[in-house]
Point group: C2
Chain length 343, copies 2
């Protein structure tokens, strides 16, 4: 009953208390089957009594896995990513891993810095959002031989293993929905596309789908807004008060779509009668607003969960096989779109 509180409780203190060697204590943790049940009990009691907590750092140093996985996202504070992070976190937690989280605010240089930082902590793997990353980041990952994963995007030719959705398809589906409803006069609100391949893919696919039907978007109907409800609302108000008004609005994601919806309500426009709005994402909440938002559903939770599962498998496997998983998209039709009034 000497140094119980001292916080200096290590494996040898436990060993001493249980009158065994440190090796045996270690084994009790790592290969319980190799130690006599009786001694095991003794040791566990000692652990209990001393309040011993294993030191992952020491294990890590020994070449064992650190038990941490790094996740680098553009931003935490977005329905989109919060959902993925949650699912990813829960998923890897189930396999005993802890989450080292970092965000870079859509700045690929900061992303590099974050990855580096995580590498210093010897994460067992690092997951990034999207497939577009700086040369330096790619080199770093390559050189350190750290297992890496791209989340959120899918591409059949991605260099990194990936779990995500095909954003081009998402864009196309959204465009086709509006086209099928007869809309030909379509407005676009998207975020900046540099350093954001998701947005870029969606946008280019939208343009493609539209022009395939002979529809082109006049400059004044194409607007840029960040993923912020209030800023998107502003942008939408500007767009909707131009001389000519589109009958359909295709938004880069649900946050923007929500902003657009509020803008319309604010301007006294009836949605969907005077204006159809479609988003991309189907975030938590998109189904709840009035009217429910029509959108292309990207299964964030499924992606996060799946990514976590597959990544821990990948990391713990002896001879890991790269993988690319494409999650299903679907156009969820709710209350913000209706056939174009044939004027």
């Amino acid at each position: 009953m000497a140094n119980f509180q001292k916080g200096k409780v290590d494996i040898v203190a436990v060993a001493k208390a249980a009158k065994v060697s440190p090796s045996t204590v270690s084994r009790t943790f790592n290969h319980p089957d190799l130690v006599n049940p009786a001694t095991r009990k003794k040791i566990n009691r000692a652990i209990q009594r001393l309040g011993y907590i294993r030191n992952r750092a020491a294990q890590t140093m020994h070449g064992k896995r650190s038990g941490t996985i790094g996740l680098v996202v553009p931003t935490i504070n977005h329905a989109i990513f919060a959902e993925v992070i949650q699912a990813f976190s829960d998923s890897i937690d189930r396999d005993g891993f802890s989450l080292l989280l970092a965000s870079h605010g859509y700045d690929l240089d900061r992303e590099y810095a974050m990855v580096r930082k995580l590498l210093e902590h010897r994460v067992d793997g690092v997951a990034l959002v999207g497939l577009e990353h700086s040369e330096a980041t790619a080199r770093l990952i390559e050189q350190q031989k750290t297992p890496a994963l791209a989340i959120w995007n899918y591409a059949e030719d991605s260099t990194l293993p990936c779990v995500g959705a095909d954003n081009r398809l998402a864009g196309r589906l959204a465009a086709e929905h509006l086209l099928n409803l007869g809309h030909r006069n379509i407005g676009l609100i998207f975020p900046k596309t540099d350093g954001n391949d998701r947005a870029q893919h969606r946008l280019s696919a939208v343009h493609e789908a539209l022009s395939k039907m002979g529809v082109s978007v006049p400059d004044e109907h194409e607007s840029e807004a960040p993923y912020s409800v209030s800023q998107a609302k502003q942008a939408a108000i500007t767009l909707l008060t131009k001389r000519s008004r589109p009958t359909g609005l295709l938004c880069g994601n649900d946050v923007i779509a929500q902003g657009a919806l509020f803008a319309a309500q604010n301007l006294g426009l009836k949605v969907p009668d005077n204006l159809s709005i479609i988003g991309i994402g189907d975030f938590k909440g998109s189904s709840d607003i009035e009217p429910g938002l029509t959108t292309v559903r990207i299964p964030a939770e499924a992606i996060g969960k799946l990514a976590g599962e597959r990544f821990t498998d990948y990391i713990t496997s002896d001879e890991p096989a790269p993988f690319r998983i494409c999650c299903e998209l679907e156009c969820v039709v709710r209350g913000t779109t209706s056939p174009a009034s044939n004027s």
Copy 2:
């Protein structure tokens, strides 16, 4: 040019490449002023050339700080916490710390498990949300002498250092706003209060404020809903279709208030003419919906930022002084509340 790629680059490899001793390399990182600028340059070149990345695990083992801070939240996937997490993360990042994030889904036993897990990683400190935690958790923190911090709640008598807001005050402010507008027939929608002291404090303060004015809430006007827009919407619809309908609805937070607003719109009730709604929180987005949500603003971002700053100070300080910081609340009046129609 032998084992550049081998990933086996450690401090001694660097030392060899720079023709100095490992100690000197170590010093270049930790006490640059103690090493000759010329050697420093040599060493830096070697580091560069070999792509060496420091091993935090080895440092940690040496008693140095691990450079990680643990944050345990009820859930990541909520506007409320996402905002705090983001601010906290940015804040500690500025001081070179990394974030180990875990969530427990409002389960205090899981919270304990998460804290334990973080302790295994030898976090330099652990931040928890709220002031209500299990005995075991408290004991763990106490025993390990790990710096700990309570975020989000403020209490003048908290055992842990804390940075947050006074939730009782928040509840009172919300109640008083409705009372001042003349409402006497008030409905309440709150989440379950066990394991959630924020909600509990708010609710009890609301009741107090109301009864001080002689207002009591009939059972059928008091409803329970989790922090989910859709479920809150359901609960609100149920509540608002009872025989007697309140003129004012006070919601446990903005998510619930948003649900209530949608419910009202869904039922064809005019807000605020037929029904006033007030939330608590002022989450991102609350100002954007139509009409803008009246709410008691809890400065999540400020709390996260401040918490991060103060906590890193606390951790790095030689003789840390406990602190308790109470962040300002304010009632933000927007479009969902108006004077009670004096019937």
